[in-house]
């Protein structure tokens, strides 16, 4: 019998093995070995190797799984669909430093709690160190093959407890009391509830009873759109009535209301002259300082960085004690600034700003460049250049324009052939200039015939006579094309056409504006005469603020112009010089060139003239110097440029080009802050930090940081919190709370049931430093006992996952890559 039984035993074992082998062989894939159905979310996965990476696709290749390999391989396969950060396999998917910090805090709390015995036994019998050391697998918590309706997210509170240093049995048991919940991080918007509700609103209501002030919490807050965030109503809805004026500078009582962007800094010209520093023309009326923006812009290349560093801490208005090397640096700085202006006019603003270092060396995107320039009109820069550095083009191509005798209003070592609008040259100076100095080789638009005299107003709008005259001399220019710095050959028509239609922004003082407008009005009747003028002479234009000695001459010139006679020559100013002062600075862009060429060419064709033919005509055309030189005469206005830009935009005043914020969310201010904040740690001395500090200062224009808090991100600069709190901001948080389910159970105190307004708390002090986690809220912390009223055994859930999140950085499912079908 025993032998029969043994035979049966062997037989059954063999039959079992054969049946299994056959089943595996004849079954579809390795499904037979599957321990159970997948959850419905994964049910579509048919290949085992989609998740079990080592299993392969053959019937027996799953045996490869027995070979040791990367233990995280299968978990990494999960990340194909479930996108997680690089720290995915850390506990909570959090960064190591976050975990360390959290553990330190919890260790402190753990000292005051008693761990349940089962937890102690578990930690002794099965310590967690080994489990966590190599990284947590997805399957540690999410165990598949448990059926279609299995809840993969389910995890017991005991499992949570196993890792945590604070071990307790339940929420209504020994769960630690809340620590300042939910006000651990300070609010991004600085809003003192106590002072607003206790002082500002009552004052406002008293002052203007018609003004509507928030009466309930829901006037400003709601959580309907985003259930996890108690959102704040937008600025325009609740803040603008009181704070908009602060942003646009309307309520500013002192200092400029605009942000000084570009400036021609004041220099100690006397010392520079003594030391033979060749800086070319430079107005001596400026006492402006170099703006942080300019420093940052200059900082974009090695040379600029050196210069900024060299002149840093140097008083540019007093260089008496400066060393030779410092004088050299100042000289180079002056040329760098000139180069900057030249580049801004000659090229595109985006070319100048586009290569600003954004911290990581990444190229700035077009949107950011657009915001950084705030659509700065080219004419604003041209106007500034014409006013401050009228001979810039000549200097940039031929070096400093020097005169033996220094003209008034300019530095001693330079000669400015054409007076600047604010510092008009005397006729004598111009004469001297034209007679004694060779006109530099420039990128001029055209060549004036010998003997032609022109005087242009540097800050004037392009004048018709110039355009007309140059149109006529254009063929000459074609014969002898001028080559710009870039080697680009431009025809006179092209260069002139670029000037057309450009109107500089109001600049200078109201009187200057008035003068210009008047001049423009006066010259209009003479435009035709100017166009035909041969050997036209240009008289110096009248400056907005003419000096007493120049005023008479200007008036005389105007009188002559009105009479249709040639204006008294300022002394034979070379035609080339005059064009340099104006037209040749205005190089068109590529697209403009194309347009202008088309515009200019037909004119010459219709006249049936070749470019060569046009020259004699141009030469013989009677100039209308009076008209050409006619200074603009302003309309009577007491509106200064700053006021003119009351609602924001660019304006020029003195030797500075300002930008005045246009309102809330001003892109210019915001973009410069965004650009510079990675390089602007607290106490940083870099040019970027200087710009950042300039814009977040207490009295900074725009007043952004009056309401938007500035966080010091260790090692990553500072951040201005422009974005409101959102779910995205809550990434990394372990605790979550949804207001809505709780709204219906509040007593008649409403929000105050949980959030007690404590008026004497030093809320605003929290924002005097950069650490966002050092915070004293207006409101008292929510107490655990309050939650425990419902969340207790047998009443409401109290498991860990009800309020705490495991994957603190979230898990996202990326959009799949779908190729667009080709036709």
């Amino acid at each position: 019998m025993a032998s029969r039984r043994d035979q049966l035993t062997v037989l059954l074992a063999l039959v079992t093995a054969i049946c299994l082998g056959s089943a595996i062989f004849f079954s579809n894939g390795t499904q037979l070995l599957m321990p159970g159905p997948l959850t419905s979310g994964h049910a579509a996965i048919e290949n085992c190797n989609a998740c079990h990476t080592k299993s392969g696709s053959n019937k027996l290749s799953w045996l490869h799984g027995l070979v040791a390999a990367d233990p995280l391989a299968d978990s990494k396969a999960c990340l194909t669909c479930h996108k997680m950060p690089a720290t995915a396999f850390n506990p909570h998917g959090a960064a190591a430093e976050v975990l360390e910090q959290s553990t330190r805090r919890l260790t402190r709390i753990a000292a005051g709690t008693t761990a349940p015995r089962s937890a102690v036994a578990q930690s002794i019998a099965f310590p967690m160190k080994d489990v966590i050391a190599g990284g947590l697998y997805c399957a540690t918590c999410h165990q598949e093959h448990q059926g279609a309706s299995f809840n993969l997210h389910k995890i017991s509170s005991e499992k949570c407890r196993s890792c945590h240093v604070v071990k307790f049995d339940s929420f209504d048991g020994d769960h630690p009391a809340f620590e300042n919940y939910p006000f651990k991080r300070r609010t991004r918007i600085i809003y003192d509830h106590a002072s607003h509700s206790g002082k500002y609103y009552p004052d406002l209501a008293k002052k203007d009873p018609a003004t509507r002030t928030p009466a309930t919490c829901s006037a400003c807050h709601n959580s309907n759109n985003d259930r996890r965030v108690m959102a704040v109503a937008p600025f325009d809805q609740i803040c603008a009535s009181c704070h908009l004026g602060q942003i646009i500078g309307k309520e500013r009582v002192s200092g400029p209301k605009g942000i000084a962007f570009l400036t021609l800094p004041g220099l100690d010209l006397e010392t520079l002259k003594k030391k033979n520093a060749s800086i070319g023309e430079w107005p001596d009326g400026s006492d402006a300082a170099l703006t942080p923006f300019m420093k940052l812009i200059m900082n974009r290349n090695e040379k600029g960085r050196g210069l900024v560093k060299a002149v840093d801490g140097l008083n540019l208005l007093d260089l008496a004690t400066a060393s030779d090397s410092q004088i050299k640096a100042v000289t180079d700085l002056a040329w760098e600034i000139k180069g900057l202006f030249h580049a801004l006019i000659k090229g595109k603003a985006s070319d100048v700003l586009g290569n600003l270092s954004a911290g990581d060396g990444a190229k700035l995107n077009t949107a950011l460049i657009s915001d950084l320039t705030a659509g700065i009109p080219r004419d604003a820069v041209i106007g500034a250049q014409q006013e401050w550095l009228p001979n810039l083009a000549a200097e940039m191509t031929g070096g400093p324009v020097t005169l033996p005798e220094a003209p008034s209003g300019s530095n001693a070592v330079q000669a400015v052939p054409i007076p600047s609008p604010q510092e008009p040259q005397s006729a004598a100076a111009v004469e001297t200039n034209s007679s004694d100095s060779e006109p530099p080789e420039t990128e001029s638009v055209g060549t004036e015939p010998a003997g032609a005299e022109k005087t242009v107003c540097a800050d004037e709008p392009p004048r018709a006579e110039n355009i007309a005259a140059t149109d006529e001399v254009a063929p000459d220019s074609e014969d002898e094309p001028e080559t710009g710095e870039s080697g680009e050959t431009l025809s006179a028509e092209e260069q002139l056409a670029a000037v057309k239609g450009r109107l500089p922004l109001p600049n200078g003082t109201p009187r200057a504006i008035k003068t210009r407008i008047e001049n423009a009005r006066k010259k209009k009747p003479h435009e035709e005469a100017e166009a035909k003028a041969e050997g036209a002479k240009v008289v110096p234009c009248t400056d907005e603020q003419p000096r007493p000695d120049a005023a008479g001459e200007t008036e005389a010139a105007e009188a002559n112009a009105n009479e249709g006679t040639e204006a008294p020559s300022a002394g034979g100013q070379a035609a080339a010089d005059t064009t340099e002062q104006f037209d040749d600075l205005l190089f068109p862009t590529g697209s403009e060139k194309a347009g202008r060429t088309e515009e200019a060419d037909p004119a010459s064709k219709t006249e049936g003239k070749t470019p060569a033919d046009a020259l004699p005509e141009a030469n013989t055309a009677p100039p209308a110097p009076q008209v050409q030189a006619a200074p603009t005469t302003g309309i009577e206005s007491d509106v200064d440029p700053e006021t003119w830009a009351e609602y924001g935009g660019w304006y020029r005043q003195d030797y500075t080009l300002y930008y005045r914020p246009t309102g809330h969310k001003d892109k210019f201010v915001q973009s410069w802050l965004v650009l510079t904040w990675p390089q602007a740690p607290t106490g940083g001395t870099s040019p970027a930090a200087a710009v950042f500090d300039y814009l977040i200062g207490k009295d900074a224009q725009g007043s952004c940081t009056k309401c938007h808090s500035v966080d010091d991100i260790r090692g990553k600069g500072r951040v201005v919190n422009f974005s409101p709190a959102s779910v995205a901001n809550k990434h990394g948080r372990f605790t979550h709370f949804i207001h809505e389910p709780h709204m219906g159970i509040m007593d008649n105190r409403g929000c105050l049931t949980c959030h007690d307004l404590e008026r004497n708390r030093p809320y605003l002090k929290s924002y005097e430093q950069g650490n966002a986690w050092k915070f004293t809220a207006n409101f008292g912390a929510v107490k655990k006992e309050l939650c425990q009223g419902c969340h207790t055994s047998g009443v409401a859930r109290q498991d860990c996952l009800l309020c705490h999140k495991y994957h603190v950085n979230g898990v996202a499912t990326p959009v799949m890559n779908t190729k667009i079908p080709a036709q």
Binding site: R5, A17, L32, C48, W62, A121, T140
Partner: protein
């Protein structure tokens, strides 16, 4: 026949019964405690972010290996004392393995073909083992199968009983011939009893189903018929019928022993081969589990 605890349970002294009950209670409590301990250990193991199925799986595999060792040891014909000890360990460990299996299957039924095969194999082995344990207990507890009787000797014993019975039937009373008066046909009545009831009974194994379910109704029916006849016969025939009754009881015991020992041998035809088939399935199960494990051991 030696006095045993099981004997005590049936008809032994109160002290022996108490000792038996305490012994069984202690064993039961120990099994319960160990099973509870295993469940708790598996629970805290799982709470420690480990897959508890690996822990109770290896406990189960270890238990199964121990049980197989018992069969191997028996094959190598150890001493009866050692075999008895091994059997006790086998039964005790068997209950713990059931606890491990329940834990391993997470108190749920399987939901795939391969798991059903494993589950069925284990359940078959377990149930057959429990049946064998019950049979062993019932044999001892009901004292109806002498330890000296083996399944193979039952036919010979039954034949001896049959011969003894036939002799008893054939034996007539010599005094009846000395009396002139015609007497009552006592012997004829006994012969009729033989032909109607007892002849067939002694010819082969009878009442399989009744013995399988532990029923003694067939025996009582036969002894009842004998007792009824005893009232009408004289003293010598009454003694004869009493002897026949003893033979019937002995035959019934043999029939029970046959059924009991047959089952005892029969369940092993399930228990042992299925155990080895289960081992084959288990080996594959372990390979699959580790091949497809996603790191959580």
């Amino acid at each position: 026949m030696r006095a045993r605890a099981s004997d005590a349970l049936i008809g032994g002294s109160g002290l022996a019964v108490a000792g038996y009950v305490i012994n069984r209670a202690v064993l039961g409590l120990l099994i319960a405690a160990l099973s509870g301990g295993l469940f708790w250990l598996v629970w805290i193991y799982g709470n420690g972010l480990r897959d508890p199925r690996y822990l109770d799986g290896w406990v189960l595999a270890g238990g199964m290996a121990l049980q197989v060792c018992f069969h191997i040891v028996k094959t190598f014909s150890v001493s009866p004392k050692s075999a008895t000890r091994w059997r006790k360990i086998h039964i005790f460990a068997g209950y713990l393995v059931i606890a491990a299996f329940i834990s391993h299957s997470d108190f749920t039924l399987p939901d795939s073909g391969f798991e059903w095969a494993l589950w069925t194999g284990f359940v078959l082995v377990t149930l057959s083992g429990i049946l064998g344990t019950y049979l062993a207990w019932s044999q001892r507890a009901k004292s109806r199968v002498d330890e000296g009787i083996s399944y193979d000797r039952i036919p010979a014993l039954r034949a001896e009983l049959e011969i003894a019975f036939l002799r008893a039937i054939a034996e007539t009373d010599p005094s009846a011939a000395a009396i002139d008066l015609p007497g009552l046909p006592h012997d004829a009545w006994i012969t009729e009893l033989y032909s109607t009831h007892l002849g067939d009974f002694f010819q082969g194994p009878r009442n399989f189903t009744a013995h399988l379910i532990g029923s003694q109704r067939p025996l009582k029916r036969l002894t009842g018929a004998i007792d009824n006849l005893s009232r009408y016969v004289d003293q010598p025939r009454q003694a004869k019928l009493a002897y026949i009754k003893t033979l019937v009881a002995e035959k019934d015991r043999l029939d029970f022993a046959r059924v009991s020992l047959g089952l005892t041998r029969g369940w092993l035809f399930v228990h042992v081969p299925v155990t080895y088939a289960l081992i084959v399935l288990t080996v594959l199960h372990v390979l699959v589990v580790y091949a497809f494990s996603s790191g959580v051991w």
